[in-house]
Subunit: 312 residues, 2 copies
Amino acid sequence: MIDSVKVFAPASVANLACGFDILGLAMEAPGDEIIARFNSETHQLRIASITGDEGRLPRDIESNTAGFAAQQFLKSINYSGPGIDLEIHKKMPFGSGLGSSAASAVGAVFAVSQLLGGQWSKHDLLPFAVQGEQQADGAYHADNVAPSLFGGIVLIRDNQSLDVMHLPVPEDLTIAVIHPQIEILTKEARSILAPTVPLKDLIIQSGHLGSFIVGLYTEDYERIHRSVIDVVIEPQRARQIPHFFTVKSIAEKLGALGCSISGSGPSIFAFCRGETHAQSIAERMGDIYGAHGIAVDVFSGKINTQGVQIIP
Amino acid sequence: MIDSVKVFAPASVANLACGFDILGLAMEAPGDEIIARFNSETHQLRIASITGDEGRLPRDIESNTAGFAAQQFLKSINYSGPGIDLEIHKKMPFGSGLGSSAASAVGAVFAVSQLLGGQWSKHDLLPFAVQGEQQADGAYHADNVAPSLFGGIVLIRDNQSLDVMHLPVPEDLTIAVIHPQIEILTKEARSILAPTVPLKDLIIQSGHLGSFIVGLYTEDYERIHRSVIDVVIEPQRARQIPHFFTVKSIAEKLGALGCSISGSGPSIFAFCRGETHAQSIAERMGDIYGAHGIAVDVFSGKINTQGVQIIP
């Protein structure tokens, strides 16, 4: 029997401009590393250590996103074996709009399930990871959890039944993501949204969503370019993010296939074509914040089609 | 040089539950028949005759959907040849939600373009047919025109630029359509709609739309079944259509893949699997109106993947 399992759970970009609460994708980096290890001295699930969180995450199982997710999974299988310790290595920022809590929840559930033999499919694990993330932001939705778990670009028909499907990932599609170090909490970002949307905007947004999906299926980058547009959420949230429109305009000038807010922000993503393109766009987007004295993390790369995985 | 051209322009079902104003499909029947014929005695475009309209359609070119569409096309090519007469044979009901005016506009533009040599693609003709339909209902949108013109299942990203794309049509997908003979004008059906939509309904509707498109690409009939749902428009328009919920419930009991209002109604469509299935569901749906003494037209069949075409 293995004694411990270490996994990498990737960051994710939700919404993707035209799919508020229903679209998300996984990034190659950053992501959390989670270790699950048997501890035969106890019969409990414990959080043995957390690094990289500056002491801000709760240590008790019930309140911790990763701990709660793993605990719900263990309850569901009536686990009664030896104790399990979790080590959580946060390697990505909180409140960044990059699915930090989702990654921790996914990592914890996956690590524990692999420690116990791995006989559960990722699909089996999805509800527990979603419950874990719900601890963090109060909403039961899978637009960060599902991509972090499965990888790729994911569409969620219905968050209640977790009807999740995989969209094709065009070969050359890459992503540039920057995280200006300004914190926005998802709960707050959600509370500023108007409760209603003009019907005409629903029509526009639906057209873009449909067209984006067709663009993925047909590998039509021009179509993707015309479709990664958000007339509903971005106009409301952009004002929370200083320099957003400058960054967006730079990305567009440099030929990005679309640029919008990642999740509830403040991170900003741009779809690009090829890794070199994504890297140079990410750097130029990041430079805007640098020039204003705001620290910024810069990421770029392919879409991560693997999702959470065991690492050495 | 040919002397006359006769075409068939099919009826269409718009919205398809989850794609208000952006989705539509073409039916195999009914449809309008339009003849374009040179008339060298004049230099004008004229409406020579209309049948099947009970005298209700305007005869002057500027006010008639078909006439206006053909005229706009002729203007765009600076036509100065012999006069052209249009014969319009209405073979489908008005105000039915089956794209009657769209079929006439499509048929007229296509017949005239074929009469003149046919060197224009259907794509070239689209804007003129849309302008024609706009004469009838005031809105510039292609969700009936594009399917009647191209055939198949069509998605419109943006009605202004007429960015139209074709969705796959699964082999076994069929449609049952009934038209209870109650007239609802599109303008009125539009005016009862609330100008805003709850954000949560936008999320639900978007999830269904995305999932429906994935269902078409993957030929996943169960997914289509879970996705042909309208939480935004149907609840508002259904009250205009007597017995709607009885009809819908019958269709669902008989295993339809989804049932909703066709366009702005009062026609009702159901997605089915196979032609026999569609036929029996259509008959049973029609029976509800029969039992209430309301005349009803009943149609069923495959999706028409050809669109407007020349007929003998």
